[in-house]
Amino acid sequence: MKSRALRRIGLIAGAATTTAIVLAGCTGGGTPTPTSSGDGDKNFEGVELTLATFNDFGYTDELLAEFTEETGIKVVHNKAATSNDARANFFQKLGKSGLADVEGVEVDWFTEMMKYSDLVAPVPDDLKGRWLDWKEQAATDANGNLVAYGTDIGPQAICYRGDLFEAAGLPSDRAEVAKLFPTWDAFFDVADDYVAKTGKPFIDSANSVLQGLVNQLEIAYEQPDGTIVATENADIRAAYDTVVDRAIPIASYAGQWSDDWYASMAGGEFAAMLCPPWMHGIIAGEAPDVTGWDVADAFPEGGGNWGGSYLVVPANGANVEASQLLADWLTSPETQIKAFNNAGTFPSQPDAQSSADLTGFVNDYFNGAPTGEIGINRANAITVATYKGEKYFQFHDALQNAVTRVFDGLEDKEKSWNTWVTEVSAF
């Protein structure tokens, strides 16, 4: 049983990051320094860079081969399975050695990284203005340095099941459905109506509504000056009340990504989901046999962003300049369009959003919905970038737990809120 104890220690040291560690093992050494031609014009011929991403950024081997052709720089692409794997690996090696030359960072843990923004190389000034304002603002540190290259964003829309809507006497046409959801109140009224008529849950999860509401606030749990306002913030309390009072009764599950949730998606139990573009692939992949999914060009109270990523260049890398070139190239509007075609990652560059490749994009699974155009409209509707402090993840996770406790009937609304307040005071 010694092996058991050892394995446990190993797990604590790396848990699911095995892949990441193994991958990182490949990143050390063997990278020749760039040869400068002397007259300021850099020659990167023969340089080899490592690129680390997770899930699917849409950076295929063919795409990276184009970069090699243009610059002579070879790219070795390491993919971690999940964003959590990448997060553990990233923070274990940041400031030390072993990180890839270009690293993918997800918005959920991006704010944690901003605390160490001095450890990554800033984005050259001439690239400023390439991204959407709020995308850039979130990546600008206290010294005014833009430190990360935006890749994709997650402008939320509403995915719905046209067949179930029709059966419940609701309109099923995309344009008609979009009119149903101008506000959250209207959204919940439609949902109540649906639940009353069919006796089935309307939306997949209560916590996705919480996510939607919180992502529309300017200040969530922390103020930009670092003051913690989590428990005093009336907006957070209001979001919690709304979710408990109105979202829980119409939701199928407390949270997403559970075995039950996946099974219920495959079985087609619920009629709607709040969905950023990256969710389209998940729905299509998990419920291949369910027909009737469609996307409405609407989101209550305007817009909201959920998810998206950045690329950063660790400042102590062997080839910072070449790495910056790679990050620059990968996040250029043209490349982002190609990535969108590959994996549905919605570009965060205004220039990319005027490209015909995007505006004309149609998703067959979602009843031929013009998801490219819908994404653009939804992205334009985003007016607020929620300030997410370095402990955002902890606060939000604990609040989600509070909702789950009410959903499961473990605690009532007030008690669960108070438990959250106690938990938050310990951070």
Partner: protein, 327 residues
Amino acid sequence: MSFSQKLSKWDIKFSPYLYISPFFLMFAVVGLFPIGYTAVISFMDWDLVRNSGEFVGFDQYVWILSQPHFWTALRNTFSIFLLSSVPQLILAIFIAAVLDRHIRAKTFWRMSVLVPYVVAPIAVGLIFNAMFADQSGFINGILQAIGLSAVPWHVEPLWSHVAIATMVNYRWTGYNTLILLAAMQAVNRDYYEAATVDGAGPVRQFFAITMPSLKPTLIFVIITSTIGGLQIFDEPRVFDQFGRGGAAQQWLTITLYLYDIGWGQWNFGRAAAMAWILFIIILLIGLVNLVVTRSLVRDEGLHRELTRRQERKLAKTAKQSVKEDQR
């Protein structure tokens, strides 16, 4: 004394230490150093990324002990530990006793009990999670089919502990069975033959011969499963999609909490303090276990009812009586 004599003297004196030094060097590097380093970090407010810290004394320990989550985690850990170790050991002894008897295809059965142990813990987690899912799960499906109500595996603390303990038992019963079987095979067969001649049935033989002979092995198995049980991590971690012990900490265990503080909140000072607290708990429980096991399982007293001293005394008197007879 010539130089070569001196050399051979040194050789005798120091070489043995040199030969065994690799182990101690390795132990110092991979064993002792991390333990000591953890102790140092546990007194600091540690920043992993910048690799620096500020000395804060016992603050981290105080913080941990004042967390309600810590006490919930402690409760859960013990609950899961008892729910897994106790049935697991009883079952393992039973299966080992069955395998110890003359059955057909012995090797096949003995190997097959080890199969679950070979399955990767994550795979076990995935399979059992699908079975224990609250709504779409196989087990709740069966319960409902026979007219019972579905069990809220991911809501009620006790049920979640039962589900997690089932995963643990699935993996570790076979492992313990084989160890106990090996110990049983070492018991002298003459005892059983004698007992059979004396008219003792299999049950009586089991309690009178097998169990007492297993004592040292049982102590080993119980101590190791205590250490493993208190460090339980994979099974609760894969029990839901977040791996953080549930919304109300229903199945948060100490190691899970430690992991979350370290790798979730990046607070390695607190995580290190937590590791030391866990170490002390395991030490204490291990000692308690040792004492209890020693007194509970009887010594090999049944086939040696007298102490050595009494035996010697008896032999002496017997000798004397023989001598007297000869006289």
